[in-house]
């Protein structure tokens, strides 16, 4: 409508100007004087036309355009986006249309992405809490609400310390962060609204802006209360099991010693009753043997628990093994066992506690001989125990091997031989021999392993650093 009006005004102005120009022709000298009113009208009409054109074509569409943009930025709606006109303004509108469509897309992408992140934040059972640089809670997720029993409006704006059993814990965690702005799996305890303690593993990160100012900290905590409870229960039950195992072992070792005491006491009683001095003495000797083995066991128990501090000295392992050979050979022969010592001629020296190494090898050799007496050898085969020593290729370790062709061990016996009071020999020993042996080897930073096959034999291998002091 306004455009039509502008068109009429412009046409009138054109006619007036044409009339003036035609009037000028031939009488140029006095044109302004001749019709000043017409000139004035022409100027007014032209100005009006210009104003109408500016208002109708430029101002109002721009106001509409700006209103639409405002509405768009406010709520994302622009119902008239498709109605803009052609021309320069039309081009601008088309570009705006394109831009707003792009913005529409980005807005929906942003919302989708926010929904996605919210979904993660709210569906995880982990506790996610953001905290301002002045220690005020900014947000908590559903996981935190659930675990701590608070609604978010109850804690937002409150100091984060209220959630800790020990409020100093947060500060400690932040101090531990260091320059990385991050601390992972910090073990701490949260206090729920109803006063319960929740054990959590806390991972805290600082979030900074481009200038390095701290915006907030985000803490992600995993509730491990149940795991903790199960762990404590497990430790408790393992402790009872270990105590039970020790008690069973002690009882197992003691019963044979008590057996001797009981049987010997019976003979002592009978000897007294029948005035049989010989029986009395024999009974008393059996009692004494029982007592002496009980004493050995109590000493071995002390030996096992004591701190093992080796007295290191440089020795020739050949000397230690030859000494054992000298002591054991006769006993072995008496038991029908062939004892053999294999020593290479130029063995390097070993820095160790000679008494301990002697005791370790002696104990294993004595076990090897027991294993031989426990086996029923087929015809053509005879009992044999061999001891040897050699150094590793790099000369850093000394290896001592004790091999027998005795009764061997099943896997479950093999797995338990270094366990205190585990014994397959009910009549002799304290049940602590190999347990003590393994502690002595540990004190040398050495190790011991064993290969064994039932009815085939056993090989113990002791590996010692050639110099455990370095």
């Amino acid at each position: 409508m306004k455009l039509w009006l502008a068109f009429i005004v412009v046409s009138l102005a054109f006619l007036v100007i044409l009339d003036i120009i035609l009037g000028i022709e031939g009488k140029s000298a006095d044109i302004i004087l001749r019709n000043p009113i017409a000139v004035f009208i022409a100027i007014i009409l032209s100005a009006t036309a210009a104003w109408l054109v500016w208002k109708g074509l430029i101002k109002q569409p721009f106001r509409r355009f700006s209103d639409n943009m405002k509405r768009f930025t406010e709520d994302g709606s622009d119902s008239r986006r498709d109605q803009y006109q052609k021309g320069e303004y039309g081009k601008l509108a088309a570009s705006y249309k394109e831009m707003s469509a792009e913005l529409d897309f980005l807005r929906s992408e942003l919302k989708r992405s926010k929904d996605y992140l919210d979904g993660i934040l709210e569906s995880t059972s982990d506790l996610i809490i953001t905290v301002s640089p002045d220690d005020k809670i900014i947000s908590i997720n559903a996981g935190a609400e659930e675990a701590l029993g608070y609604q978010r409006q109850e804690v937002i704006g409150k100091p984060i310390q209220m959630l800790f059993v020990d409020p100093r814990d947060r500060e400690k965690a932040l101090r531990k962060m260091g320059p990385t702005d991050n601390i992972a799996n910090y073990n701490t305890r949260f206090l729920t609204k109803d006063g319960q303690i929740k054990h959590v593993l806390n991972t805290i990160s600082r979030v900074r802006d481009h200038s390095g100012n701290i915006l907030f900290t985000i803490g992600i905590s995993k509730d491990i209360t149940e795991e903790k409870r199960l762990q404590i229960e497990l430790i408790q039950s393992q402790r009872y099991a270990a105590i039970g195992q020790v008690f069973t072992g002690i009882q197992h070792s003691m019963k044979n010693m008590l057996n001797a005491c009981k049987g010997g006491a019976y003979m002592v009683r009978l000897g007294l009753k029948k005035d049989d001095r010989e029986m009395f003495t024999e009974g008393w000797e059996i009692v004494q043997e029982g007592i002496s083995r009980l004493t050995d066991m109590s000493m071995a128990m002390l030996k096992y628990v004591r701190e093992w501090k080796p007295k290191f000295e440089q020795v020739q392992i050949g000397d230690i093994l030859s000494e054992i050979d000298r002591v054991i050979k006769k006993t072995a022969e008496n038991k029908g066992i062939e004892f053999k010592l294999n020593l290479p001629p130029d063995l390097l020296p070993l820095t160790c506690d000679a008494r301990m190494v002697h005791s370790v090898v002696m104990d294993i050799v004595s076990n090897a001989m027991d294993a031989c007496t426990w086996k029923e050898y087929p015809k053509g085969e005879s009992a044999k125990v061999e001891v040897g020593a050699y150094t590793s290729h790099d000369n850093q370790r000394m290896i001592i091997e004790i091999h027998d062709n005795g009764c061997g061990m099943t896997d479950d016996v093999k797995q338990n031989i270094f366990t205190p009071f585990f014994s397959t020999k009910s009549k002799s020993g304290t049940g602590l021999g190999l347990a003590i042996t393994s502690r002595m080897i540990e004190s040398h930073n050495g190790k011991i392993d064993v290969d064994s096959e039932p009815k085939e034999g056993t090989t113990f291998r002791i590996v010692l650093p050639r110099d455990a002091t370095t």
Binding site: K255, N259, A260, K262, I286, W374, E376, D412, Q415, T424
Partner: protein, 149 residues
């Protein structure tokens, strides 16, 4: 002379004081010190009853026991076994599935499984077992009970 009882145990003291107690109560006692010698003595001496230790060199008490039960000549030979598991055996009925009680005691577990299997086959009865440390009089009483006609 009374009935003949063979005591098989690698502990010489046990063989000695059980023999004294048995003889004191009118039995004839003979001894053997491992499973192999035990079988030889059974064949040579033909005892009326065998007292058998479980943990022995060369041949365990259980192996010897099974061998006797399979042998026509000795399948009815009365046996008293000296173990640490009589109490465990009584547990078989009440808490046979509760293996958590002594989780590391694998030997004991295995022994219990062996006895359980033998008990299911009707080979052993709880009253055959006596726990160490033994009271000689108690063993003699058990022997007398098993040998009474």
């Amino acid at each position: 002379m009374g009935k003949k009882v063979l005591v098989v145990d690698d502990d010489v003291n046990t063989v000695r004081f059980l023999s004294v107690a048995l003889e004191e109560h009118g039995f004839e006692a003979i001894g053997a010190y491992d499973g192999v010698e035990g079988m030889e003595k059974i064949e040579a001496e033909n005892p009326d009853l065998v007292i058998l230790d479980v943990m022995m060199p060369k041949k365990t008490g259980f192996v010897l026991f099974k061998q006797l039960r399979k042998d026509e000549r000795y399948k009815d030979l009365p046996v008293v076994m000296l173990t640490g598991v009589a109490e465990t055996l009584e547990d078989l009925d009440t808490k046979s599935e509760d293996t958590h009680e002594r989780p590391y005691d694998s030997l004991r577990e295995r022994l219990r499984d062996t006895i359980k299997a033998m008990s299911q086959d009707g080979l052993v009865k709880p009253e055959m077992f006596i726990d160490k440390p033994i009271e000689p009089e108690e063993v003699v009483a058990k022997v007398a009970e098993l040998l009474k006609d």
